[in-house]
């Protein structure tokens, strides 16, 4: 196979895979409250992932200075299945909070993560 044939084959394969319908691991892209950020109040945790999620197998837990914080059941945004939302059950006192999440993308890949945010006095 000549160099030109090899590169032509590579380009064809690249195009084929790039054009394929791809699903993937759901990685956290953006969060509200922001990862590592500070807010004056928060009434929900909103996590935007890189892929669509299966809400049934995905979840969020929140803990803070006083221990675990009750959250509503995690649900997927009806308008965007890559957004996972959980309502916070009570006003948050100032302090540092930790969000732990686990996600199952629509193609059943599992991912997980955790991050802190701060509620300002």
């Amino acid at each position: 196979m000549s160099m030109r044939s090899f590169l032509r084959l590579g380009a064809a394969l690249t195009f084929a895979f790039a054009a394929s319908a791809a699903f993937a691991h759901a990685l956290l892209d953006k969060a509200t409250p922001p990862v590592g950020g500070a807010v004056s109040s928060a009434n929900e945790i909103r996590l935007k992932f890189t892929e669509g999620l299966e809400a049934k197998f995905s979840g969020i837990a929140l803990s803070g200075p006083g221990g675990a914080v009750p959250l509503g059941a995690a649900s997927v945004d009806p308008g965007d299945n890559s957004v996972l939302i959980a309502k916070i059950g009570k006003p948050l006192a100032p302090g540092t909070y930790t969000v732990k999440w686990h996600a199952v993308s629509v193609d059943t890949h599992h991912t997980q993560g955790d991050f802190d945010f701060t509620v300002k006095p």
Partner: protein
């Protein structure tokens, strides 16, 4: 190289593209919060359905003083969860030296450990370079058998007070090249010990676990440096037991189902080459692109 290969491969690609259906998927090098990217100098510690196409390397002056350009394909197929077989080959152009394909290399690899809370992953494998499967004088005359151990450790388990260090990860590989024959083709076949490691700083990890990154390009980037070394340890010709190796600083752009890596190749001494080269690779994760067909193990599906 058969002139029919491109046609055969094209048919295989069409079959792949057509084979989507529904069932569970299996992940590539993910352990806990950590995604280990595919690296170029050494292998990553995971086993997954993936394709490196192409890996292109340019060396202005290799260890023989020749200008060298290599291209290669590497494909890995999982047979059952955590166990995969891979095949690697590709052409090389050297001036002086000519053109030819290197010997075909295969590897069986098993991911035997993942400790999620410590982002620690380990795999063991056996690689074989098959003699007389290359062309143009670039083929060896005896098989080479190489047991390989790959490990990876993310630092996400550091205390939150050291948050800035948590995106760091290291991966490492050791292997030994054991020739099938001590002598062949009138020359000695040395036993070599190979080792290497990478130091990575994952901005995707930073964005998801430490602090938000607004820039859509940088949040996908993993700056890293790879170090690879090799030393003949037995049956070497007098004066040839010199450690050779490269230092490869670069970066990986990691998208959802593919990644692109670009690294400089800096020889550590004159026995390793002269002048800085470059290596780049486009890598596809089939477990993400074809999660229900080519991207899942042949056996052991849920």
């Amino acid at each position: 190289m058969s002139p029919y290969l491109p046609r055969v491969l094209s048919g295989a690609i069409a079959a792949m593209a057509a084979s989507l259906c529904l069932s569970p998927a299996y992940s590539h090098a993910v352990c806990g919060n950590r995604v280990f990217p595919a690296t170029l100098g050494i292998d990553d510690p995971g086993v997954g359905d993936e394709l490196a196409l192409p890996t292109l390397t340019y060396l202005p002056s290799n260890s023989n003083g020749s200008q060298e350009f290599d291209a290669s394909i590497s494909y890995t197929k999982t047979i059952f969860p955590g166990f995969g077989l891979s095949i690697t080959d590709g052409p090389s152009w050297q001036n002086p030296g000519g053109y030819g394909w290197g010997d075909i290399s295969t590897e069986a690899k098993y991911n035997f450990m993942c400790i999620p809370e410590h982002e620690f992953m380990a795999s063991a494998g056996l690689s074989i370079e098959w003699a007389n499967t290359g062309t143009g004088g670039m083929s060896g005359s005896t098989n080479t058998y190489s047991p390989v151990l790959d490990v990876g450790k993310g630092f996400g388990d550091l205390p939150k007070s050291l948050n800035i260090l948590r995106p760091f990860a290291i991966t490492a590989e050791i292997s030994e090249d054991l020739p099938g024959q001590a002598w062949s083709g009138g020359g000695q076949n040395s036993t070599n010990f190979n080792w290497g490691f990478t130091v990575q700083y994952s901005l995707p990890y930073y964005n998801a676990n430490v602090g938000e990154i607004d820039n859509p390009f940088f949040k996908h980037l993993i700056p890293l440096t790879e170090f690879t070394f090799s030393k003949p340890i037995a049956n070497f010709a007098p004066g040839t037991n010199v450690t050779t190796g490269t230092i490869q600083p670069g970066a990986i752009y990691m998208a959802s189902s593919w990644q692109f890596a670009l690294e400089a190749v800096i020889p550590i001494n004159s026995a390793s080459g002269h002048g800085a080269g470059v290596v780049g690779e486009l890598h596809f994760f089939f477990d993400d692109i074809f999660p229900d067909s080519l991207g899942k193990p042949i056996f052991g599906g849920k």
